[in-house]
């Protein structure tokens, strides 16, 4: 996975407030039409930020999720999960 679509999704969540609210309401439905791989979709819905980071999602974009508790992530949980992640190649 190139992570480009995940980065694009994070970017859209930050800049498009109605879309952000849709993601907050029903994450699975909101991203249903996005051209993500199964692995990306699964990692997003599980709030698996370690995997998303290791596969190339930009951490600045990724950490926006905690501002609005998206994908079940608050700051504490995010920090716990990202700890020990390896830098993407």
């Amino acid at each position: 996975m190139s992570a480009y679509q995940v980065n694009k999704l994070c970017h859209r969540i930050f800049h498009d407030i109605p879309f952000r609210e849709a993601v907050k309401r029903d994450p699975e439905a909101a991203i249903a039409d996005w051209p993500l791989t199964d692995e990306e979709r699964k990692a997003l819905l599980a709030g698996d930020v370690k995997r998303l980071y290791e596969r190339g999602t930009h951490p600045f974009l990724l950490s926006h999720f905690t501002r609005w508790d998206l994908f079940g992530l608050n700051a504490a949980l995010y920090a716990e999960r990202i700890h020990g992640a390896k830098d993407p190649e």
């Binding site: 930050f14 980071y53 992640a85």
Partner: protein
Amino acid sequence: MAEIVAGIGVPHSPHYPAQIARDGPEPTARVYREIARHLDAVQPDTIVVIANDHFNTFFMNNFPTFAIGIADTTFGPNDQTKMPHYDLNVQSALARHLRNVCIKEGFDLAVTQEFGIDHAMLVPLHYITEGVKTPVVPIWVNAFVAPLPTARRCYALGKTLRSAVETMPGKLRVAVLGSGSFSLEIGGPKINPGKRNSVPDIEWSKHIHRRLQNAQIDELVAEATPERMWQAGNIGGELLNWMVLLGAIGTHKPRYIADHDDKDGHAYAVWRWD
């Protein structure tokens, strides 16, 4: 001909406006005021602002290593930073001249002719200029999406900008503002428990502060390798904005440099030669 009359280096946290509203002016707003006093004294006609975009003006579909904004006006912040909205004038004649000279000299700057600016430019401008009325020339450096340009290349870009300013017809007085952190991690594995960020390498920040104080710029350029900056956090590349600034102003000791901020690892400095 135009001339560079001052250089300014500061941080640009998007949290400052809210923090200052909550906690009062100490110490951040006070230090910015000190910078503003110096800037007033040199009476710049325009400010060349060097910063990195945070996926607000650009995105990965088209992310320039170096870019310049050429338009009559711009606006911001375009990233929901909690601060006043500003419509700004761009010194477009200077911006065009800088781009033309840079390209002639081997720096192929990308150009945008319609853009907003984010906190990295507007937070400093908000604090160091009265009402953000001074026209600006925005220049973006990729300090954010690997691979970053090298410190040497950024420093050389600064030198080229200086010679470009000095061939600009007219009597423009130009200040150069570079902004960024030296050690900062956002959202990566080095963040603190329960937080969105951390300052992973305060010693590196202190070291840079000493280099600036002593005008040991060639040494700093050599030390600021991609690995060294990355060790200081995934935002550690913002030092590159300062590298462009340092190239543009030439090697001088700062007229003013705030004491090192041992908590956030930030530096605030002014270079003047009047």
